[in-house]
């Protein structure tokens, strides 16, 4: 599961850091593991001119997000919106156990939130008490 390229993306994440001039930003987290993820897009003329992420967490969540950013650069916003979970899991190229699927998909969730311009994930707007 911890192939060299996964560990490489974890230790040397691509497109990592604050994105200046971002037009779309979405933050998400997984309280179960304490993983944090922010995806930022700079959209010009319907295309992803640039994408960055910041986050901390396990190797799977961080590598998955890093791989995703490499893929979406240059895509149209509609193409980004159409990326699905099966595609992301296949792209990771390693078997993901049911307990780790949430880790593997945190980057995608944050990317979708940014692409759709969400402020809260549908169904997760419930306020804390």
């Amino acid at each position: 599961m911890y192939r060299d390229y996964i560990l490489d993306h974890y230790k040397n994440p691509r497109n990592f850091g604050e994105l200046e001039g971002a037009t779309h930003t979405y933050h998400d987290s997984n309280p179960l593991c304490g993983d944090e993820m922010t995806m930022q897009l700079k959209i010009g003329d319907g295309h992803v001119d640039d994408v960055h992420f910041t986050g901390k967490g396990c190797a799977i969540s961080q590598a998955s997000a890093s791989i995703l950013t490499e893929e979406v650069k240059g895509k149209t916003l509609d193409e980004v919106k159409a990326i699905d979970r099966d595609h992301v899991l296949a792209n990771l190229g390693i078997p993901i156990s049911p307990a780790r699927v949430k880790c593997a998909l945190l980057g995608l969730k944050a990317l979708k939130g940014a692409a759709w311009g969400l402020t809260a994930w549908p169904g997760e707007e419930v306020k804390a008490k």
Binding site: M1, Y2, A59
Partner: protein
């Protein structure tokens, strides 16, 4: 970090104990399973499985209802399980033992039935940062609902309760002290007897979460001086769905029921209901009676082995593991570094590897540990980490399993190049 254990009792015959647990001879991907997640749940011995199977195969019927042989036998077995729990806890009366699904349900019973009647606006609920969410969220939410205040007492850098702070907070006044006997995240054992006396001196009622204590050490509710004490069966060789609340008769008598329905009544008319006597007043609906009977068998098993010996066995494993784990570069151990007032829980992190990655790598070697926040988010925040990896022992664990744990820590470091 030199630690030694001087056994006061004869060591456990662990090989013989392991033979009672069918699941421990299983393999995962061809490797013998190393089960070190006992603070989450325990494995079950043949004796407990058989006791439950016998109910289903030999005399299953609903309890407290049928006027026929099967129902009477099942009822007797259920009430005998209650008597066993009462003896285990040294409860003054079996009537003070209420069967619930788990410790969480137990705390909720106390929070809803006692708390909503007795906690008033402005009252102070004193608790600790060591609490499991099950002994924290019910009080936090109760406080929000009634306008009370929750005061959270801190720990020192070794994970021991700040006694000075606790005493100071109690002196400011408290209606309730909700305290864990033993931390599920760090293994710290709190001096509950001493603290309960201080709490009573300021008129506070004392609720003790003993979910990590009753399975591992002798617990005497009278010696502790608690007012309520809760625990889960599944952490002590019994099935999930079993557990109990112990409470003082005088308090239980004054309380309203938690759940309404069948079995908790003595008389119902269209306009009123009279409650059943203790403890059945708090056991609405058909109880998980087979689980409770399983709990009774687990109590027998633990009593036969002896909880004193189990505790010493677990401490000897901690004493073996702590220095070996602690000397590995990059490993940080959270919680008490000595064997004083602690149990067999060892929480740690490996620098540069997230606990979930650690647990995934351990899993490849069939080593089962918990990685996460352990239902201890306020404690994780206090420690400044999102999560930890936790190994937790029970009577069937061995020195060889400690060695296996140390080996997989090295393996994880190798995979991540740290």
């Amino acid at each position: 970090m030199a630690v030694t254990v001087k056994p006061q009792t004869a060591p456990l015959d662990v090989a013989r104990i392991r033979a009672d647990f069918p699941v421990l001879s299983q393999t995962v991907r061809g490797k013998p399973v190393v089960y070190l997640d006992n603070a989450a749940t325990s494995q079950k011995p043949r004796q407990v499985i058989d006791a439950m199977r016998r109910v289903f195969e030999e005399h299953n019927a609903n309890i407290h209802r049928g006027v026929y042989e099967f129902s009477e036998r099942t009822t007797a077995a259920f009430e005998e399980a209650r008597a066993k729990v009462a003896r285990l806890l040294n409860a003054p009366s079996e009537r003070e033992v209420i069967f619930v699904r788990n410790a969480t349900e137990g705390v909720n019973l106390v929070a809803y039935s006692w708390g909503r009647e007795n906690i008033k606006p402005g009252d102070r609920i004193v608790t600790t940062v060591l609490e499991h969410h099950s002994d924290f969220v019910p009080w936090q939410q109760l406080a929000k609902d009634v306008g009370a205040q929750v005061v959270v007492v801190d720990i020192d850098d070794e994970g021991r309760l700040r006694r000075d702070q606790l005493s100071a907070e109690l002196r400011k006044g408290a209606k309730l002290l909700a305290i864990t006997h033993t931390s599920n995240g760090l293994g710290t054992v709190n001096p509950v007897k001493e603290i309960a006396a201080e709490a009573h001196a300021v008129g506070a009622t004392v609720v003790v979460d003993a979910a990590q204590a009753v399975p591992h050490t002798p617990v005497d509710v009278q010696a502790l001086g608690a007012d309520f004490l809760v625990f889960s069966g599944h952490k002590m060789l019994a099935p999930p769905g079993s557990g109990a609340v112990w409470g003082r008769t005088a308090l239980l008598e004054e309380m309203r029921p938690f759940l309404y329905g069948g079995d908790m009544i003595s008389r119902v008319t269209v306009s009123m209901t009279e409650w059943n006597e203790l403890p059945w007043k708090f056991e609405a609906g058909t109880s998980s009676y087979v689980d409770a009977i399983g709990l009774g068998a687990a109590v027998d098993y633990l009593t036969d082995v002896s909880l004193e010996r189990i505790h010493e066995h677990e401490l000897s494993l901690v004493g073996y593991l702590l220095p070996r784990l602690g000397e590995i570069p990059g490993v940080t151990i959270y919680g008490p570094k000595t064997l004083e007032s602690r149990v067999g829980v060892v929480s740690f992190n490996i620098e540069g590897i997230h606990p979930h990655d650690v647990a995934t790598i351990f899993d490849r070697e069939a080593v089962c540990v918990r990685a996460g926040h352990h239902c201890n988010q306020p404690l994780m925040t206090r420690l400044g980490v999102p999560a930890t990896t936790r190994a937790s022992f029970y009577l069937y664990n061995t020195i060889e399993e400690c060695d296996a744990l140390v080996r997989v820590v090295h393996a994880a470091k190798k995979v991540f190049g740290v």
